[in-house]
Amino acid sequence: MRRFADILDRLVLTPARNGKLRLLADYFRSVPDPDRGYALAALTGGLDFPAVKPAMLRALVTERMDEVLFAYSYDYVGDLAETISLVWPAPDDASAEAPALGEVVNTLSRVSRSDAPAVIADLLDRLDPSARFALIKLATGGLRIGVSARLAKQALAAMGGKDVGEIEELWHGLEAPYEALFAWLEGRAGKPQSAAQGQFRPVMLAHPVGEGDLEKLDPADYAAEWKWDGIRVQAVCEGGVRRLYSRTGDEISGAFPDLMETLSGQLALDGELLVGDPRLRTGSFSDLQQRLNRKTVSKKMLADYPVFMRCYDLLQRGEQDMRPRPFAERRALLEDLLPTLDPQRFDLSPLVDFGDWAELEHKRSNPPHPIIEGVMLKRCDAAYLPGRPKGPWFKWKRDPFTVDAVLMYAQRGHGKRSSYYSDYTFGVWAGPEDDLQLVPVGKAYFGFTDEELKLIDKYVRDNTVERFGPVRSVRAEPGHGLVLEVAFEGLNRSTRHKSGIAMRFPRIARLRWDKPAAEADHIEALTALLDA
C-alpha cells in the first residue's frame, strides 16, 4: 500500500506527461505481483467497491474524535478523504503490519455493507496518512490523479518495449491482477492468448498532409473520403457480445444502447459516431457532445439526440480477420454488408471522386456539409495497420478559421512552463464604435514558439494591470494591447461563456505586434460563423 500511496501522491503533482510515464513504468517494474496489477486496475477504472460510502467514513472518524475538532479540520482541508486520512487517530499499538494493496483489494471486494465500517476502520488503523488517503480514494472510487487508462497502457508499453496497440488489443480479455500481462512484458512468458469475445482492435490513424507530400503521391493509388467531425468509434459484435469502443479502446457501449441493440452477426466496424438520422440529416458536433462522456442515457436524450455510425472500414466479418486485406477489398465488402444493417443507425461514408489533387483540393475547400472537416486519403492497396504508419493514410483538413483577438488575461503555466505566463485568455470587441468593450472568447496555451513565449511573457509582466493569484490581467484597450491571431476548428454555442460561444481547438497562429488593438475583430465576425 505504501508504494501505491507514493505513486498516487507523485502522479497528482507531476504535470509533465513524460514524468508521469516514467513514474508509472518505474512503479510497474519495481512492485511485485499482484500489487502492481491491482494498481493498474485502479488506474484504469477497473475496480468498484459499492459497500464503501463517504458518509460511513465520516461517521467512523467522528466516533473516534471530537466533532468540533473534526469540523475545524474539514473546513480547513476541504476534501473529506484527505481530512479523514490526516486526522485518523493512530492506534496506540501501531505494530500491526501495513496491508499490501492486493490484500486491501481482496478485502474490499468481499466485504458486505454491514461489515464494511469495521473492516475499513481496521485497515485505516494499519496505514499511514498517505496510504489512508489512497485507501479511501480507492474504496470510494475516483482516484482523479490526471492519469488516463491510455497513459497507464503507454507506461506498460514503455516498460515492456511493446507497442501500445498490442496492449490495447489484449486489454479486454485480461483481468486484474494482470499477472500474465506482466509476465509477457517482462519477457518471462509469451503473449497472453485470450478467447474473449468482442475485443478491441487497435485503430489505424492518419498523418496530416504535410508540405510537399502530395506531389510525391500518385492520385490513382488513393481513394478519398470526407473527414467527418464526430468521434472515431469501433463497433464489435461477436458471439452475442456487442461492444462500442473509443479510438483508444475505452468501452463506451453503455451510453449508446440505441446504436448497439440493432447490431447482430459477427463483425467489427470502423467509423464515425454522429448525431441524427443518416437518411435525413446529420447533426453538429455540439449535438453529439450532448451524448458524450455519460455512463447512462435518458429516454429523452435518446429521442432528441439519436446517434448513428457512419462506417468507413470493415475489420472482421464472420471468422475472417479483414485487416490484412487491401483497403479496396475491405471497402467492397463493407459496401456489400451495409444494406444488411439498420439504415437508421448505420450508413456508408461515401467515396469522393477526384482526378487529380487540384480537383480534390477544390472539393476539400467546398464541402457539401458543414460537419465535414476535410478529406481522408487512403491507399487502395494498404492493409489495416494499428497505430500511425507513415504513407497509407493521410488526413487533409479544411484550413482553420482565424480571428484577430486581443490578449486580456495571462495565467502561469505548469511544469516546465511554471515560470512563464503561458495560458492566454483573449477577447474580441463588442458594442458600439464609441464604446468598445472586449468580451473574452477563448483561451489558448500553445501554437507559439519558445522564443515567442519569452516575448509574450515579458509583455505580460510589463503590461500587468491587476494580479489574481496565478493570473494577471493585461492592459487591453483600443489604443494599447497585444493582438493575437487565433486559429480554431469551429465554434459551438455556449451558455457557459459570456460571449455565448465556445471555440474548438483554439491556438495562437501568429503574434500581431504590428496590429493596433482597435483593429482586432468584432464579435459579429464570430457570431456570423455560428449562423452559417
Binding site: D9, V12, L13, D26, Y76, V77, G78, S419
Partner: protein, 359 residues
Amino acid sequence: MRENNTPDKRVFRGRKKSLSSRVMRPQDLLHPCPEGLYCPLGDFFIDPVRPVDRALITHGHADHARAGHRTVLATRETLDIMRLRYGADFAESRQVAAYGEGLDIGDVRVSFHPAGHVLGSAQIAVEANGLRIVASGDYKRHLDATCTPFEPVRCDVFITEATFGLPVFVHPAPEVEAERLAASLRQFPERAHIVGAYSLGKAQRVISLMRSIGHDEPILIHGALARISRYYQGQGIKLGRLEPATVEEETATRGAGQIIVAPPSVLGDRWTRRFADPLSAFASGWMRIRQRARQRGVELPLILSDHADWNELTATIRETGAGEVWVTHGREEALVRWCELHGIAARPLNLVGYEDEAD
C-alpha cells in the same frame, strides 16, 4: 516542581514567600500590547513588532527579531543572526542570555530555554510573585541537528504558538522526507531539484538532513542564504560542501541531478529558468495539505517543519503542567478547544504582526 529550571532556588523561594500575601494574576505579569507581549514589572517586551526600549527576543526570524530596539536580550546566536541581518548597530546595547541562566530585571526573573525551532531559538520564562509564564516563541519537538533540542519548562501559564494547531497536521519523520528527495534525484537525474526553504533555519536543516542520510555531493545554494549558512557552519554545524547556485557561465544542464536550496519565493519564478528542467520541491509543514502543494505548482512536497505539529503541541502543553494556556499565531480555536476538552483553561492571545504562515 520548578526547581530543575531555576538556577538560584534560594532566591526564588525567598521571594515567593515574601510576596505570597499578594495574589498575582497572569495578565499582571504579561499582557499583549500593540508593540508585543509586555511585562510591566520588568518594563520589557517579548518579540516586539515596533521599536521599544527593552526587548527580549526568542529567535532570529524577521517577524520576531526586528531592528531598532534600544536594548536587546537574546541568546548569543540570536544576537549574531540579528547582526548578520541588520548590521552591527541593530540595537544600542545587547546582552547575551545563556540557556537556563536566571536574570533579574526589576522585580522579575527571566530565563531562556531551548525551543528547538532554529539555531539560538529560546522560550522565555518570566516569573514574579510565585507565578511563572513561559512564552515559547516558535518551537518544535522533532529532532533537528542544527539546533539545541526543546526543553519543557514547568509553568503556570504556557504561551504556545499554533501555526499547525489542527489535528490534520502530524509531521512525518524528517528522514522519510529526506529519503523521498533522494529517491527523486535518482529517478529524475536530468532535472535540477530546487528545494524552497526559508533562509534561516529550514534551509540549513534540509542540507544537514541530506548529509545525515549520506548525500555527499555539493549542494547549490541561492545567494540569499549564503551568509546564514556560513554562520551555521562557523558554529560547528556540518553542512558539507556548498556552492553558489548562480555562476557567470550558464549551461543547459546546470543543476541536473543536484539539490539547489533557495528561498520559497523563487519557486516557479524566473530565477529557476537557468537550471535544467527544474523540479520544484518545497520543504514546509504546509505541504501536508495536497491543495497547498498543487496551488504552488510544487511537484515534490517535503513535509518538513520547524514548528510543532498537533501531537507535539498537545504533548508539550501537558508536559509544562500549565493550568492555563494562551494560544497565539495560527489556528487558535482548535487548540483552545483541545485544552477545554482536557480541563485546561485556554484563550487565544491576539498578537498582531507575526506571520502565522511562515514555515
